[in-house]
Symmetry: D2
Subunit: 423 residues, 4 copies
């Protein structure tokens, strides 16, 4: 694929943003492309996902609706068949003789954000604004997907000796896709793993060789269920889910800080009750805890659990906690970071190379990184700068499409440095 | 109108339930009927509502949608014109010579409840189930409207000497219609006021001469507005509306009890925040406070105000409080209660007469009762028992239609006792 | 005893105020007096207390210190011997032939309040200010004791036929003396019980025939125990009793109001923690709940228990709840109230008789009242007005000593009306 | 002074532990010693303290009591006269020709901890256990004082060219002595500052060249004042300081974490209210906040202020915040750390030298360090390992007295390296 083709692909994906486990059009588009390559293996959906590790899968109605949309947008029916049940994502494997197994992971999902219609917003002006109202590629995963295909093509054309695996991962935004992919067994033989992300406030021309400072994270929903009652006539008959939730919220934020490092807690969404004069039977909160290390995240998680249970009990309620996404912390290996750093320095269009940067957020690429590292491999999370007018996760986010080519160049060059060279 | 006609009318209204300030079909139907009577005055909409006292009026889109539905259901266009802007309700005045001015108030609005489709539910089996999905006459106001018209007819046919006023009040369920009607000036000359309610757990054949124990109530919404921030990277930049709301909820329930009598507080609805990893910018709660007396309600109201303001300040937020419904407490006058008691004792079909009962809830008929009492008049809130399979405000609520006739008999007889008799 | 003697006695007791279970001097003084009367039985200390019902007994050091003070003040050693272990209080029984068993209960304990030294304060000016610094008869129990002896003498001198029992009850202020006395079995044969209280904002010359509106009450201490930790270095190792207590306090005040009647809750004392930089290992709160009925108090008590347990669990702490005083609600019987009313009307010095009044506080005479009522007897709680410069429980409280005579007159007259008359 | 003399001095100080601003005996003992040296200046009490920076000074009664104890223990009256009002601490200055101005800061105060009486506890077995019951040198400041004198003597005996200043600082444990000493102007000309601390979990023979990771800290008391009321009869008349304090405590712990680094918050002490049945008029809490940087501490401080104010307002109370101790963060300068490191390596008895360590607590030596650094000087906080049986701030803490000599050696050697050498 030419760079123009990849830009075209990126724009097509941009028009069809799909959230976690609903990347039907996206996966079908990727697989359709991959089938035209000379690959040794192509794994789709459940072939690259561990069943037991999946969380946050929508119900059938929701999945069907998105399947229909994918179908209407022209996705191939035979591929969609393989994705039913929300088994999205794919893995391309190219075996190119003796040499290390090198992997690239790109994420493919989109966000529930309504895209800007402003003429200042290139996708709107350029005619490739989201066609899925309320959803948007506002974090550049459309560009990541293009980079994944571009790197694959570049290596297929090269004298790379070894095995290349490109993982197209679903559900990063909800941090639900990394764990099932990491647990699929497909990473166990990987010697080197690159993950790649555009932007992150780095301008076009800047590359970060290895990003660190991922906070381990656990996201969950808690639903408090009590009993309703007439607030005027029989307040004592209520088992008040509103009071339970309020007590939980206050005490979640009060979980003690930890001497070993940074922790975080947030209750981001609350919703419940039916009427002013009715004691609320049900209140639902969506929360997250984070930690500078996985241990710290787990410390927060256990404390949160206790707060939720006790707050429910206090008001005669029950609470059901549903795990949503979860991701460990991870670090980029210095050696691999050096490889990227050298590769970036030699890449045209790169004007600045940073060894490292601190993310301060969370990412479930960490699952894949740790899977590789636990098997003795190395991993690096590479940042490819891109001028983005709006911030990540905002309606005016966009990427400088020139950075797609830069990303392909840098990552391919690093892979080639690692791979033995055939003759 | 014959009793059969009134039952027919009640069923028609039952099929067209309309909530506060959207009683377009209902009012048009009432006015259409009233125009065929020999009345001295007929006031419609804003002619019987004080503009400055209205609260909880929906926005234009919502009003227009309900106007359209009324139109489609066959409401007269010329009457609808007079109701535009949500000015619903009506007042019929019959001047019948020298004598006291006696008034009857009935309420006409419905609830946002989805009516049962069960065959055991008479309106479903009988073909007059709600045609406005999600709305329902689940508190008997359809029967009240029929009683209002029936009493009017009975007095018009009688030798009653004096003036009769029948108020068809909108918006009782949201306690927003009573105050503007009470402040309209149309009650200032009323010597005796009856309000009437069916059911309230009293069986068919039982009458309560004068109900007391209305809790004064104030309902309001509070919206906390702060600033969002990324919960992982920049928690300190948030001004957390979630924490403000939780602190408010906990402390609202903690407003001290009062030595002078019963108080109540409830936060019935909560909703806010956008995502697990974002510090919530906006959280909204819907609350109410009540008191055994209006003073007690106001004590609670003031304390609640302080809690809301301080909770917002504590977390760097602002809070906007929007008053929803509000109603004072009131008592039935003993003398008028005696009149009803005597009238009920002499009424066929009445097997049990209670002097008084304690409601324990709120009602904005209290505004009208107090308006009359403050001008030196007397008021009684009359309960007409009716067997109701489901409780008030539940999907299977229904009335025993025989109680419509009983209600008309009891109230008419009481009015006739009060009125001088012409010759 | 003459009225002068009784005033002298009251002043002696006023100089020697003693709190719950430490009424050694007081009991010794009473018993010393009683032994000079012609009684049929005289029960002291544990003879009139149910062992299993005692609460709030101080430790041995405290008891010994007060025993020493009583000894130094001249209490008889042989009587003190019978009171050891804090078994204070007494019961005088006079059997006077056939007739009903009539009982009078007076309370004898004092408060931990420092008495005024002002010249405007009669005990200070008159030389009978408290000699137990920090303690004071600030609720008139010294006068009650005098009334108890006065009534006994009056009946002994009369032709009363029946049995008279005068209970001198300890520990009313801490509501710990009523229950063990009620459960002692000594009230089981009582047909009529009077309790008497001076003041309560009624002036000299006013009598209340039967006071009602006692709130049932339960007082308890809760000690939260967690684990300390250095708040800077290891905050996560703490199990924070401070957070547990704060959560408990907020949620105790938030226990839902009850549709059946008035409830109360208060956390009156808090204390705990050792240093600013140490996570608190121990925080103690002293609380009470009340209810218009005993059921309502028990509702509050159960909810409070749940709040305490859950708040402790939430922060990894344990909580120990220690019951302090407890008293049910009670009502004065109308028939007996009528007897008092008549008696008061005929008493010289009484200028105003109220049938009833509403206390709004708590009193453990209710235990004795209910014990009598449960056995088929009747009870009335009689208020004897007295001008009191300062309010009850304040440093300048005092009684108009003339009301002692009025109290004796009214109660004796009522007893005589009930008793058959010998010949 | 010989090492034996210094050990003797340390034991004498150990027997006379004195808390912040009450180090009368200690200062008198130090000054008495210093007067026998050949010093150029000797500043005492207010001569080395900035008046406006003092906080946490006890009241006169408390000061007088400790003055009396010092007098009884044999402190010189003429020196005590200079310390009146709690102006403790001293500064010795030796001008030794051209060369840098080098300073050493040692702290001299003790803790409110009851010392162990166990035979396993050397001071108890050795007869130099605390004679001030309830107070104890449980952090080694007695050893620090000895080191301060030892270093002074060593330099006086040496060919050091320059100026040496030894600061004997009061009130470190309450972090109240550092700021007034730092603001006294006496540090403005200092080129190099050493602070020294024994132990900190480093064993005898280990030296830490420069400790970092001081958390900036602010300690304060907040007193909530409302209005009392009878909790049964008139709960609504209370302005409940208990609820205000509980709300404050919950929300203090909920102050958002900060993306820039570690923060801390603790409410370590609570106390208030008078009786179970009285709405609490007054509740007092003692709190602290910390931050990895001074900015972070100030962020916490401002948020805490807002929480306190709003919590008071919410319950109709007022709050008075009294600043107790306060200290910034600080870092050891690498160059000076290297000097110490080299010195330690050459010192007999030192078996292990660490370049740096992370304290994780707070220290008001940071005020002095920053004062020097702001004037262009350098500072290092040196750790001298010592085997200590019990942890710091525990009843069985003790020092290995051999470490006194090691401390003197290491610090003197470092000072000599810095000083030019006279001839």
């Amino acid at each position: 694929m030419t760079t123009d083709d990849l830009v075209e692909l990126r724009r097509d994906l941009h028009r069809h943003p799909e959230p976690a486990w609903r990347e039907f059009y996206t996966t079908a588009r990727i697989v359709d492309e991959l089938e035209t390559r000379d690959l040794d293996s192509l794994y789709v959906g459940r072939e690259v996902l561990d069943e037991g590790s999946r969380a946050g899968v929508p119900d059938d109605d929701e999945l069907d609706a998105w399947l229909d949309r994918a179908r209407e947008a022209g996705a191939r029916e035979d591929i969609l068949d393989r994705l039913k049940g929300g088994y999205t994502g794919a893995l391309a494997v190219a075996e190119r003789g003796d040499g290390p197994t090198v992997a690239l992971r790109v994420d493919i999902d989109a966000l529930p954000i309504t895209e800007s219609e402003s003429d200042d917003h290139a996708p709107a002006a350029g005619g490739f604004r989201s066609e899925r109202e309320g959803y948007m590629h506002a974090c550049g995963h459309d560009a990541h997907t293009a980079i994944g295909l571009g790197v694959l093509d570049r290596i297929l054309e090269s004298d790379f000796a070894g095995t290349l695996k490109v993982f197209f991962q679903p559900g990063e935004e909800r941090i639900v896709g990394g764990e099932p992919m990491a647990n699929s067994g497909r990473l166990d033989d990987v010697d080197y793993l690159f993950a790649v992300h555009v932007g992150l406030d780095h301008p076009s021309g800047e590359v970060v060789a290895g990003i660190d400072g991922f906070l381990a994270v656990s996201q969950f929903e808690a639903e408090f269920r009590g009993a309703s009652a007439h607030a005027g006539a029989r307040p004592e008959e209520g088992r008040n889910a509103m009071q339970a939730a309020a007590t939980a919220i206050e005490n979640l934020y009060g979980i003690p800080r930890h001497g070993d490092g940074a922790t975080r807690v947030n209750v981001g969404v609350v919703e419940g009750g039916t009427a002013t004069n009715i004691v609320a039977e049900r209140v639902r909160i969506e929360c997250e805890v984070r930690g500078e290390t996985t241990d710290l995240m787990e410390y927060m998680d256990e404390r949160a659990e206790r707060v939720l249970e006790s707050a429910a009990e206090m008001h005669g309620c029950e609470v059901e906690r549903t795990q949503a996404g979860r991701a460990p912390s991870a670090v980029s290996d210095p050696e691999l970071r050096d490889v990227v750093s050298r590769a970036a320095s030699e890449t045209e269009g790169v004007v600045s190379v940073l060894d490292a940067d601190h993310l301060g957020g969370s990412e479930d690429a960490t699952y894949l990184m740790r899977a590789v590292q636990e098997h003795g491999g190395e991993a690096a999370y590479v940042g490819i700068g891109t001028d983005h007018p709006g911030g990540h996760h905002t309606p005016t986010f966009d990427v400088d499409e020139a950075s797609i080519g830069v990303g392909i160049d840098v990552v391919s060059r690093a892979i080639l440095e690692l791979g033995g060279h055939g003759d």
